[in-house]
């Protein structure tokens, strides 16, 4: 069957507007039967609400008109799904979060992400934590807040009692904690000793459960020379470098009642943070790095600004090659891959190898003369200026205003 032949002359005659000396054509010609392409102008005209001075459009009105062949390709207003709700999960996975920085950090997100992998599509994830608005996007189906008495930093025993009461009530299939030896790892071992359970410490691999077999976990053992694989037990801690933080669907994060507990008198008391010299911290441990690149020539001012801000000094490969900084201060693919929370880069253009080294950094501030440098694209705040002028000003202002 051949396509009906178009006659351009009759089409043109149909669009000709009457009157006037010069021929005027309308654009509002009726679509031809075979003309199946979407005509936005036509759709817009049909959706126009008549009788208002300002153009108003009602895209839901006049469905009949939209049902014409020309309108068949009109997209329906996209359906925005709500959070995923799991009312009666097949089992629970409990994640006890550290929240050492107050809000949700990388460790807590990783824990929830691994818990989600354990839960699959049928299980539910419960987070025992301080409520946080980001829990719903991090993968928590339910949230249990710590009881008021467990909020004190020294109240380790009360937190442990709260966790064990919740485990009793909820009967989760797995309980996940972080591997931090003074936070989640400590709590996991306390729980294991109290409950008489074995602990799978620092799991590094996970095979999710399926119909035929339960979830299995692997971990480093025998002094780091063997991997031990076993059926996932109740209590596990999650190795920090073994799992990435997966992107999660929006979840409900519904609050449920915290367990009623008896307050336990804390045996540890008087926690006090000690001041540390940031200059002597290894780069992969420190939280705040001030870094110099090829754009820095005044290294005295650079050292001064690092001291004023209380940051650890680091440098790019060029700077370390030139001997301005020792080799262990090099950031990048051939140096240290850093995980600091904040990275202040002076005169660094952002070679891919350097950017690889700061992949794990949360906040980047760049001072650079080149507006189009890769580092400027990576940064949350970029100052397009000469580092030699900014560094002394920053050091002075920091000394004036920092507590």
């Amino acid at each position: 069957m051949s396509r009906p032949r178009r006659d351009p002359r009759t089409e043109r005659a149909a669009r000709l507007l009457p009157g006037g000396t010069r021929p005027r054509l309308t654009l509002k010609a009726a679509p031809l039967d075979h003309f199946r392409r979407r005509d936005p102008r036509e759709l817009r005209l049909r959706a126009r609400v008549p009788g208002t001075a300002r153009p108003r459009f009602d895209w839901t009105r006049d469905v009949q008109a939209l049902a014409s062949p020309a309108a068949a390709a009109v997209p329906v207003a996209s359906f925005v799904p709500g959070p995923i709700r799991i009312e009666e999960p097949a089992f629970w996975v409990l994640a006890v979060l550290d929240q050492t920085a107050g809000g949700l950090d990388e460790t807590d997100r990783r824990l929830l992400s691994v818990a989600r992998r354990f839960a699959g599509s049928t299980g539910g994830v419960v987070a025992l934590c301080n409520p946080d608005p980001e829990l719903a996007t991090a993968g928590a189906d339910r949230v249990v807040r710590w009881p008021e008495a467990a909020m004190e930093p020294v109240a380790l025993e009360t937190r442990m009692a709260a966790a064990s009461v919740l485990i009793q009530a909820l009967q989760p299939r797995h309980v996940l904690l972080s591997d931090d030896p003074v936070a989640g790892g400590d709590m996991a071992r306390r729980l294991a000793a109290r409950m008489g359970e074995r602990l799978a410490a620092d799991i590094a691999s996970l095979t999710a459960a399926n119909d035929s077999q339960p979830a299995r976990v692997g971990r480093k053992a025998a002094g780091g020379r063997e991997e031990w694989l076993q059926v996932a037990p109740l209590l596990m801690t999650v190795a920090a470098d073994a799992f990435a933080v997966d992107e999660q669907d929006l979840r409900e994060a519904r609050m449920i009642e915290p367990p009623a507990i008896d307050v336990v008198v804390p045996r540890l008391r008087d926690f006090r943070l000690l001041p540390v010299d940031p200059e002597h911290l290894p780069l992969d441990e420190t939280d705040f790095i001030v870094s110099a690149g090829n754009g820095v020539t005044d290294f005295a001012a650079f050292a001064d600004v690092a001291a004023a801000l209380g940051a650890t000094r680091a440098g790019s490969r060029v700077v370390c090659d030139a001997g301005h900084l020792p080799r262990e201060k090099q950031v990048g693919a051939s140096g240290t891959v850093v995980t600091a929370r904040c990275y202040l880069a002076f005169g660094i253009a952002g070679a891919p190898q350097h950017l690889q080294g700061i992949t794990g950094v949360r906040h980047v501030i760049a001072v650079n003369t080149d507006l189009h440098a890769e580092m400027v694209k990576r940064a949350d705040l970029s100052i397009i200026a000469d580092a030699q002028r900014v560094m002394p000003a920053l050091a002075q202002l920091a000394r004036e205003r920092m507590e």
Partner: protein, 283 residues
């Protein structure tokens, strides 16, 4: 510190060199022993006892003696037996005021659970990741190693079990003569084969590539950009500002992140950082 009758028990395990696989001192237990030996040297009345569960004929055990220990008590147990019960009985019999152990063993399950089981059985308070210990009467002031190189101090009453972190002072080197002179006392011990060890699959450890997150959306180009962090600028850009103004912008940003504290403008954009931390109170 009231030295007379102050009893310390150090738990020593056998380490395994990560590359050669040869038996050696567990570096964390050696640090725990070092703390014990320093406490003993500071107050001569202290009774320091060292316990090991395993094969008493292992030559690497003498390395602990070479560190300055006079006598090591070994509970004779086969390698696949669970040492918790035997050690628990031995430690309870000694009624120590302080139990020292490394953060974790090296060469077996390495879960770091044993000191917790002992502390639970003895009714001791437990402090993990200790780097320094100062005993004053019936209480102790302890320095703990936190992640990210930070340290904190804790007060706790005796009796006490501590696990010692990597950041504790390095152990003394091994003196050959002391290693020969020290005594190894063998004690018979009862134990059960560990059921977990029979249920395990073992295979050589293989370092895995860096884990990649599961992405729900975005093209391959987006994922690559995200991996290198070179996403398009969402950040603020100040072009050629006055240095003073640039410094103020940087300082404000740092205080908004919560990295530093600025006196005149206590502005905090990040809601998360005002919430209570379960780790510690700032000084």
């Amino acid at each position: 510190m009231s030295a007379a009758g102050f009893r310390i028990v150090v738990l020593l395990s056998l380490g395994r060199h990560p590359v050669s696989g040869r038996a050696r001192r567990n570096p964390l237990d050696a640090r725990a022993l070092e703390i014990g030996l320093r406490l003993k040297a500071a107050a001569p009345g202290v009774d320091l006892q060292a316990l090991h569960a395993g094969d008493p004929t292992e030559p690497a055990l003498r390395d602990y003696l070479g560190q300055g220990l006079d006598k090591l008590t070994v509970l004779d147990l086969p390698a696949d037996h669970d040492p918790v019960q035997a050690l628990m009985a031995a430690v309870i019999a000694r009624q120590p005021d302080l139990v020292l152990a490394g953060l974790r063993a090296e060469g077996s399950e390495d879960s770091g659970l044993l000191p917790y089981c002992l502390a639970e059985a003895l009714g001791h308070a437990l402090v993990p990741a200790v780097t320094a210990l100062d005993i004053d009467g019936a209480s102790a002031t302890i320095t703990q190693a936190l992640p990210r190189g930070r340290r904190r101090t804790v007060q706790v009453d005796l009796p006490l079990t501590v696990t010692v972190a990597e950041a504790a002072p390095a152990p003394a080197s091994i003196a050959f003569a002391r290693a020969r002179k020290g005594r190894i006392e063998i004690m018979a011990a009862a134990g059960q084969p560990d059921p977990l060890l029979a249920a395990l699959d073992r295979r050589p450890w293989r370092q895995r590539p860096r884990p990649m997150p599961v992405r729900k959306k975005g093209s391959a180009v987006d994922r690559l950009r995200e991996m290198t962090g070179a996403t398009e600028a969402q950040g603020r850009v100040l072009i050629d500002p006055d240095p003073r103004e640039a410094a103020k912008a940087i300082l404000d940003q740092l205080s908004a992140i919560g990295t530093i504290r600025v006196s005149q403008e206590p502005r905090r954009e990040k809601a998360g950082d005002d919430r209570p931390s379960l780790l510690e109170k700032d000084p």
